[in-house]
């Protein structure tokens, strides 16, 4: 039978390594990047038409999926990063992976009138308001 000699210094070193490892995991960008990211978006209203501008640099047009469900516009897709074993990274600021973002419009959306274009890494979705008048706001009298 082997005799185990308790070495407090070794034990402390092991603990300090464990802390360093967990800190590295926390701060290493490869680990801290979210599995799904939300692309930055501006929404601007021009003459009653709502323009949703989403930043999607480096993404192919075919990889973007745009859906309208009721009054919610959803953009989703995947940004793929070229992987080459010969390439070493110094800096990786550009986010990659799956993305999804939904925008609920506070008005009735004309679902046939939604148009989208993709230019220079910016997805522009124009959303028109439906002709149908929303139900009038009712004022309730307090009795």
């Amino acid at each position: 039978m082997r005799t185990l000699i308790y070495n407090p210094v070794k034990e402390m070193l092991r603990m300090s390594n464990a802390i360093a490892d967990s800190l590295e995991k926390e701060f290493n960008p490869a680990f801290s990047k979210p599995a799904c990211f939300s692309p930055r978006t501006d929404i601007v209203e021009i003459d009653g038409v709502v323009n949703i501008l989403t930043e999607l640099p480096g993404i192919k047009k075919e990889d973007i999926k745009l859906t309208v469900v009721e009054n919610t516009i959803s953009v989703e897709g995947e940004k793929k990063l070229a992987n080459d074993d010969n390439i070493r990274y110094f800096v990786n600021e550009r986010i990659s992976g799956n993305f999804k973002r939904s925008f609920k419009m506070p008005f009735e959306v004309d679902r046939n009138g939604v148009e989208a274009s993709f230019n220079d890494g910016i997805l522009t979705v124009t959303v028109k308001k439906a002709e149908k008048e929303p139900e009038a706001n009712k004022q309730i009298e307090v009795k």
Binding site: T41, V44, L53, P57, D84, I87, R88, F90, I95, G121
Partner: protein, 136 residues
């Protein structure tokens, strides 16, 4: 500024920045840092910069005083004075400077711009390329 750029031969990749509109923009407009990836392999350095909203003609790349400068102009004038419902994008022209010193071969720079992304391939100078020495 101009005389430093003259030492580069690849005029397609590196364009002179001389237009007055660019000079004016430096004083008047916002400039933000593009997000970049920096990579290398044995032969070259790669820079990928995200510049969403910039068209191909509005990108400038120059190498001067050992610095690589990336610039992109953005035209958001049609949204000026309009009703903004959500603002997340840091609107501004893109500017970023990297020190490359003499580690790259300025004669051999390739640039492409697609879907709001600038991809640069900067060939390494012979001096800094890794060399394997065989033991006989």
């Amino acid at each position: 500024m101009a005389k430093d750029i003259n030492k580069t031969a690849n005029e397609d990749a590196i364009v002179k920045v001389s237009e007055d509109s660019w000079k004016e923009a430096f004083d008047r407009e916002n400039w933000v840092l593009p997000e970049v990836n920096l990579m290398e392999d044995d032969e070259a350095f790669f820079v990928i910069a995200s510049m969403p909203g910039v068209s191909k003609d509005d990108v400038r790349i120059k190498i001067e005083d050992g610095n690589l400068v990336l610039m992109g102009r953005i035209d958001r004038s049609k949204f000026e004075g309009k009703k903004i419902l959500l603002k997340e994008i840091n609107t501004g022209n893109f500017y970023r400077k990297f020190k490359v010193a003499d580690s790259i071969d300025t004669q051999n720079v390739e640039a492409s711009f697609k879907d709001g992304e600038l991809i640069l391939k900067l060939a390494k100078h012979e001096r800094i390329k890794p060399k394997t020495i065989e033991i006989k």
